[in-house]
């Protein structure tokens, strides 16, 4: 269950005692924190000194963002951790829940979230959009989108963001980019010019998050076009080949299942997706803002709940 209790911020006087490993990732491991039960620790795998120093600076900058550190649905860093005087990782708020992975396929959704309806999906979309809007107000953006970077409450769909050290943040004129990049969710202008990855803006993040929302609603991508099945997802995005129609012209077809789920969405939500992927493909300013998604998803949720 996701807890809304505020976390007692660890103080320097509290020695940190870590427990067992609870998750392992490409960058490090997540461990229980025995001395601070409301927190977990991320301990990085061995890294080059230069990379570790960069991460340490980034975490230091994140620690200064106190509003975000206090947000109950962001697993924000709370304290840096050192071992033998060397930066090792950080403590972060502990958040319970299930990743969004079960929502990527009907077969897993029926197994892990059998009671979920489209209303739950709308709640997830609303919460993620709301969190992204909050991050945006602090010039922080998601660049590494993965279903494992979000935790949801199986009971009501309330959703949080974890793995926040992969976010792009800014401290003054210095931008701390992400070391991780997901081409399958990237905006076309980033795919064409990967050097821009070091400093993405709101418009690129909106494209990325819209793709995530599309996946949550339909289990697919608007660029999952059968006629171009030999292309990788990033290539399909760059080429802008979608199945959404628009202006009476479709550039391709998709699987019956994805098409059925897309057609079943309310007109307003479909309009948001068309703005993001058709009008917004070459004109990023047309992409819906996070606050627009908050309103659209909220209305959708209310319509479904009656």
């Amino acid at each position: 269950m996701i807890t809304n209790k505020s976390v007692e911020r660890p103080t320097l006087s509290h020695p940190t005692q870590l427990g067992k490993v609870i998750a392992t990732g490409g960058e490090g491991v997540i461990r229980e924190c025995l001395s601070h039960p409301g927190c977990v620790a991320k301990i990085y795998h061995p890294l080059e000194e230069e990379d570790l120093s960069q991460i340490e600076s980034k975490i230091g900058a994140m620690l200064k963002m106190t509003q975000l550190a206090q947000h109950s649905r962001l697993a924000w860093p709370q304290k840096k951790l050192y071992q033998n005087r060397k930066f090792a990782g950080f403590l972060m708020r502990k958040i319970d829940g299930m990743t969004l992975v079960p929502l990527s396929a009907e077969v897993s959704k029926r197994t892990y979230l059998p009671d979920w309806t489209t209303a739950h999906i709308a709640r997830v979309v609303h919460d993620i959009a709301s969190l992204c809007a909050k991050l945006e107000s602090h010039d922080v953006f998601l660049t590494d989108v993965s279903l494992t970077n979000f935790l949801t409450n199986p009971r009501d769909g309330s959703t949080s963001i974890i793995d926040v050290d992969s976010l792009q943040i800014r401290e003054g004129s210095r931008v701390f980019g992400s070391s991780v990049f997901t081409p399958d969710y990237a905006a076309p202008e980033i795919l064409r010019q990967p050097e821009r990855l070091g400093c993405i803006g709101s418009e690129q993040a909106r494209f990325t998050i819209a793709l995530l929302f599309f996946q949550l609603y339909t289990n697919g991508s608007p660029f999952q076009v059968l006629e171009y099945g030999n292309l990788e997802p990033a290539q399909q995005i760059t080429a802008g080949r979608h199945f959404l129609g628009g202006r009476g012209v479709a550039t391709g077809t998709t699987t019956p299942e994805i098409f059925r789920r897309y057609c079943g969405l309310p007109r307003r939500i479909k309009w948001m997706f068309k703005r993001a992927f058709i009008e917004g493909h070459q004109s990023p300013s047309n992409r819906p803002s996070f606050n627009e998604w908050v309103e659209a998803a909220k209305r959708h949720y209310q319509e479904l709940r009656g």
Partner: protein, 239 residues
């Protein structure tokens, strides 16, 4: 029949939705496991390999993402090449690990050619269903010497590894394995070696490493370079 993915039942259950791409449009990691089932593997070595395969599927099924994305198939080559387990999503309570029986010679070349064709056919199926796929994995186990014309197969597979990013992992077991032959299938990635062919522990560790590497792969974009997990100490890298 539906079985909860975390049930402790060891019975073989094949969920009718496994192969249904409509119910699982996740990107796939095609994994072809080629097992030497020649006569010399009879007894403890084959039992250890079987135990390792069970470890692999058990590990993958504990990871929500990997179980949706990993698409394994198992071939045996002992006397002849046979597909012991068809392409299957691992999303189910128990993935059937086939019984391995040792007999005959070691047609390694034929096994590799068969696997390459099968992988290409499988990827055509993905494309027809608009399902993205990761670079394929081919894992080869052998404890002896190939008894057929294997060089052409080795050249083809190594070219796929070099030009198309296929991931080829060769594992030799026991004292009599021809490691030089295995090295030809993947020149850029030296073969691995388990000295004690009957060591259940070593096989289990190898398959844990393989499942960890698959999990890392399945968390990334399909266009990303493959990153392997760190190798366990009980596995030697043959330089």
């Amino acid at each position: 029949m539906k079985t909860h993915p975390h049930s402790s039942s060891s019975s073989i259950v094949v969920h009718p939705e496994i192969i249904d791409h409509a119910n699982n449009p996740s990107p796939r990691v095609p994994l072809a496991i080629l097992c030497d089932t020649s006569f010399s593997m009879h007894g403890a070595p084959l039992a250890a390999l079987q135990h390792g395969l069970k470890t692999l599927f058990s590990e993958i099924q504990q990871d929500m993402l990997a179980q949706l994305r990993c698409d394994p198939s198992i071939w045996g080559f002992g006397g002849r090449v046979s597909q012991l387990m068809p392409w299957e999503s691992t999303f189910v309570g128990a993935t059937p690990v086939p019984e391995l029986n040792a007999a005959g010679s070691t047609p390694l070349g034929a096994a590799v050619f068969t696997a390459i064709q099968a992988i290409n056919d499988r990827r055509d199926t993905y494309r027809a269903n608009a399902i993205p796929s990761y670079a394929p994995w081919v894992v080869i186990f052998s404890d002896g010497v190939a008894t057929d014309e294997w060089r052409e197969a080795a050249a083809k597979l190594s070219m796929l590894a070099k030009n198309s990013r296929w991931n080829v992992v060769c594992l030799g077991t026991g004292p009599d394995v021809d490691l030089e032959c295995l090295a030809k299938f993947s020149p850029d990635r030296p073969p691995l070696h388990i000295r004690d062919a009957s060591s259940c522990h070593s096989f289990a560790e190898f398959f844990r490493w393989l499942s960890a590497s698959i999990k890392i792969t399945s968390r990334r974009s399909t266009s990303c370079q493959t990153t392997m997990a760190p190798l366990p100490d009980c596995i030697d890298i043959v330089e």
